[in-house]
Structures are given as structure tokens and as C-alpha cells.
């Protein structure tokens, strides 16, 4: 009986994480704790970064079998929603129900800025290809420049699922850092005079326009870029729930409980793809560097196109609203507002920047569709 007792204890010890764990596990737990710190204390997009980093923590506890790859485990099942491409469109449903496209409808030219800011995605794609990433990996890395979490996760889960962890973390971290990343670039590329430009009031938008808008966008975008349809379709369905005004109860649920539940499942299971073997790779460093490049070039693309529009309209457009085209709603629009107000305290760009800002969501989804169509 004693020997059996000793065996039982021995088994338990040998099965425990302390014996089974290797340096990678411990390093990953450290990284996860650091990300938890960023989420809680620095408030880096905590709604997703906190579940992601805790998922990463769980996935790297040795022996536990809670990574997204451990068949039969809790997180494995939650991960199927990522793998099947279900969660990101459902989050887009909620985002659609939360978003007012009014400023964009009032100023349709905003859409061009939302297009220009996607430059970061493609230039980064070139860069990543040059650095030796496979085209699929490069596409997933480029999409970080869309500054749009669900889109990035959707594209990565289809093109390069092994990079889900670092790409999601990079995307959300840089979205949180938008107020640090963008202003220097915006100031570098604009003159004080340009930044001082006060824009003309937006026209009011009718209920009818707001209702037709999502239907039209869903049709047009899906026709031209079918691969963007799950994202854009759900985004626009959510927006139609919102603007129709007749289905308030499902609109509320789409933007609250449904989105929250999906966010928890998505965050934890995306984080739990970042096992040591998948994450501690020089590719991760490249992703972090390239993600920053993507954000910066996207910002520059938006601002430069803003300058072009400023020139074309004879100075009626403040180029600062271009940087909001990267998405990162509503952070990027607030950055435009702030930098504009620094130059001219009477300058209020927020509403004008909301147009490119929400246009950037559509733009990124279109870019994602192109990437999926060519590389998928």
C-alpha cells in the first residue's frame, strides 16, 4: 500500500506543471502577465486584450491542455467559432448596430479617405513578402494596418491561423496606441495652415438615407468583393437593425449580450492559440514591427490623400481627418479632433473625422476581401 501511495504521489508530481513545463511555457506566462498588465493598468483595448492575454496564460500552463489546439478541451470548442469564421461577423453585427453612418452619408467623399488609409495594408504586404513571409502570412500581417480587430482575426483565421495570437495582439495593441502613433505622422505631413482649416457644417441626414445606406453597401460590396460579404453583410445587417427603428430589442441584444458573449469566446480562444511554439518565433517580432509600419503607412496614406482633397477643394478639407481613415473607431477620429484643436482651438473636426473613420471599417473589409480572394 505504501508503494502504491508513493506511486500515486509520484504520478501527480510528474503530471504537474512544474516538472513538465519548459522555459517557453514560463516565458509565455510572463508575456501573458505583461499583456494583462497593459490591458488593466494601461487600458490597452481591455475588452479584447484582457480575454486574449488570459487565454494565452491558460494555453501556456504546462500539461493543462487548454490551448486552442487541445482537442476535446474547453477552449478547443470555443475556438471552433473562430475557425469556422463565425465570431468576427457576429461582432460586426454588433458594431453595425452601434455605428452611426450619418457623418459618412452627409459627406460621401469621406469614403475616399477611408480607401486611402488602406495603403498601409498593402505596403505592409509587400514588406512582409520581401522579408520572406509566405503570401498568406504577409496578407494576414498586412491586415493589421486596417486597424480593425475582427477583420484582422477573420482574415488571419483563414490565411494563416498559426499567426492568430501575435496578429490579434499586435492589432489591438496598436489600436490602443493610436493616440501615440498617429500625431507625429500627422504633424510631419501637414503644415500648420492646413491643420487650422475649419470645415463646413455637415448637412443633416434623413432617416430614409440611413436605412437605404446599409442595404446598398451590402449589395455593392458583396457584388464586387464577394469574400468581404460575411463581414460587410453582418455589419450592414446590424446597422439596418439600428436604423430601421422597428426591431429595437434585437438591435440591443446584437450590440450588447450577443457581442459580449462572442467577445469573451473570441478573445479567450484567440489568445489560447498563442502557445510557446507558435508565439516564440522570430516571425512574431516581424509581425510586431510590421504592424507598426502598417499603422504608420495607413495614417500617412490617409493624411496625404487628405492633402490632395484639400488641394482639390481649394482648402475646404482639413487633411487631418484623413488619418481617421484607418478605422480604430472612434479613437482615430478623436486624434484628428485633438491635433486639429491644438493648431486652432476653435477647430472641431470630430464629426468630420467620423466619416473617414467609419469608412475605414468598410475599406478594411474590402481590402480583406481582396486578400482572401487572391490568397485564400
Amino acid at each position: 500500500m505504501l508503494s502504491e501511495f508513493i506511486n500515486t504521489v509520484k504520478d501527480l508530481i510528474l503530471n504537474s506543471g512544474f516538472v513538465q513545463g519548459n522555459w517557453k511555457d514560463f516565458l509565455m506566462i510572463g508575456i501573458a502577465c505583461f499583456l494583462i498588465y497593459l490591458a488593466i493598468v494601461r487600458k490597452y483595448e481591455p475588452l479584447l486584450l484582457l480575454p486574449i492575454s488570459f487565454g494565452m496564460l491558460l494555453a501556456n500552463l504546462p500539461v493543462v491542455g487548454l490551448s486552442s489546439y487541445d482537442e476535446g478541451g474547453l477552449i478547443y470548442y470555443l475556438y471552433q467559432g473562430v475557425k469556422m469564421g463565425i465570431y468576427p461577423p457576429l461582432i460586426f453585427l454588433g458594431i453595425g448596430a452601434m455605428t452611426d453612418f450619418g457623418p459618412l452619408i452627409a459627406n460621401p467623399k469621406s469614403l475616399l479617405l477611408g480607401a486611402a488609409a488602406q495603403l498601409g495594408i498593402f505596403i505592409t504586404f509587400i514588406g512582409a513578402s520581401a522579408l520572406g513571409y509566405t503570401p498568406q502570412e504577409a496578407g494576414a500581417i498586412g491586415i493589421i494596418g486596417g486597424a480593425d480587430g475582427p477583420t484582422a482575426i477573420f482574415v488571419t483565421s483563414k490565411l494563416a491561423p498559426h499567426l492568430l495570437g501575435p496578429i490579434a495582439i499586435a492589432a489591438y495593441s496598436y489600436m490602443a496606441l493610436v493616440p501615440l502613433i498617429q500625431p507625429p505622422i500627422m504633424k510631419l505631413l501637414t503644415t500648420k495652415k492646413e491643420r487650422e482649416i475649419v470645415m463646413k457644417q455637415l448637412r443633416p441626414v434623413s432617416k430614409t438615407e440611413k436605412i437605404i445606406f446599409p442595404i446598398m453597401v451590402a449589395i455593392i460590396v458583396s457584388f464586387i468583393v464577394p469574400d468581404a460579404a460575411p463581414l460587410v453583410g453582418m455589419l450592414m445587417l446590424g446597422n439596418l437593425f439600428r436604423e430601421s427603428g422597428v426591431v429595437e430589442r434585437i438591435s440591443k441584444t446584437a450590440q450588447n449580450e450577443l457581442m459580449n458573449i462572442v467577445t469573451i469566446f473570441l478573445g479567450v480562444s484567440v489568445g489560447a492559440t498563442a502557445t510557446g511554439d507558435a508565439f516564440l518565433d522570430k516571425k512574431t517580432l516581424g509581425i510586431i514591427a510590421l504592424g507598426l509600419v502598417a499603422f504608420s503607412i495607413g495614417t500617412a496614406g490617409g493624411v496625404l490623400f487628405g492633402k490632395l482633397m484639400c488641394f482639390a477643394t481649394g482648402g475646404k478639407v482639413n487633411p487631418l481627418i484623413g488619418s481617421a481613415g484607418v478605422s480604430a473607431v472612434p479613437m482615430a477620429a478623436r486624434v484628428s479632433q485633438k491635433v486639429g484643436q491644438e493648431a486652432n482651438p476653435g477647430n472641431f473636426l470630430l464629426m468630420h473625422a467620423m466619416g473617414p473613420n467609419v469608412a475605414g471599417v468598410i475599406g478594411s473589409a474590402v481590402a480583406a476581401g481582396v486578400l482572401l480572394s487572391v490568397l485564400g
Binding site: 460621401p108 475616399l112 504586404f125 520581401a130 457644417q201 432617416k207 446598398m216 455593392i220 478623436r334
Partner: protein
């Protein structure tokens, strides 16, 4: 690498085509809307741009909606934007105080009541 450059060009072109197309259609239907306007349901919140005292319609990413008369000076706009920023959780650096902020009259009580009716109804 060729693929990369190709895809970049194609990608940016497609993105621009799609968004220009959307932009064009929106411009179009806003024109149709302002042309074919006959009042009724939309009377309250669509106004011709060439009205003598055009009204500003703010509509932020949440419900809070302001509806004010614009006096062609930027002050009021500033005030409202500041209010909006405050509502969005930011701290406006300047010390501007909101002088006038009026909620628009609720445009669609009917829709609300329908939605309420639906919620009461024991049937989907």
C-alpha cells in the same frame, strides 16, 4: 514579390473603386432625397442646404442627438463638439462650457411604440 506588388496595386484599385462607387451612389441618393422631398416623415430632420438659417444636425455614435440653430459662427459648434467629446469620455482641454443644448423633439414615437408593442406581444 511580383505577386505582392500586383496585389497591392489591384487591392488599392479595388478598394478605391468600391468606395468611389459607394460615394457616388450616396451623393446620388442624397440628391434624389433633397429633390423628391415632399415633407411628411422626414420633414423634421432633412432640411435643404440653401435655407437661410440652416440647421445643424449632430448625430454621434450614440443616441445623444442635438439639434440647434446655427448662427454662422463656430462657437456653438465648438460647444457641441466639446459636449460630444465629453460624452465620449474624453476631457476637453479647453474650458468651454455648453451654452445651449436642446434635444430634438422625438421624431418617431410611433416606431417606439411599435417596438414596445412587439416586446409586449407574446409572439415572434
Amino acid at each position: 514579390m511580383e505577386l505582392a506588388i500586383n496585389l497591392t496595386i489591384v487591392g488599392m484599385v479595388v478598394v478605391f473603386i468600391v468606395l468611389i462607387l459607394l460615394s457616388a451612389i450616396i451623393s446620388l441618393f442624397s440628391k434624389i432625397a433633397s429633390a423628391g422631398k415632399t415633407g411628411g416623415k422626414d420633414k423634421m430632420n432633412t432640411k435643404d442646404n440653401d435655407m437661410p438659417a440652416p440647421q445643424a444636425h449632430k448625430d454621434v455614435v450614440e443616441e445623444s442627438t442635438a439639434y440647434i440653430e446655427q448662427k454662422d459662427d463656430s462657437e456653438l459648434v465648438a460647444v457641441l463638439t466639446a459636449a460630444v467629446i465629453a460624452a465620449m469620455g474624453g476631457s476637453s482641454e479647453s474650458n468651454i462650457h455648453v451654452k445651449s443644448y436642446r434635444r430634438i423633439p422625438q421624431i418617431s414615437p410611433v416606431w417606439n411604440s411599435v417596438s414596445r408593442k412587439e416586446q409586449i406581444a407574446a409572439k415572434l
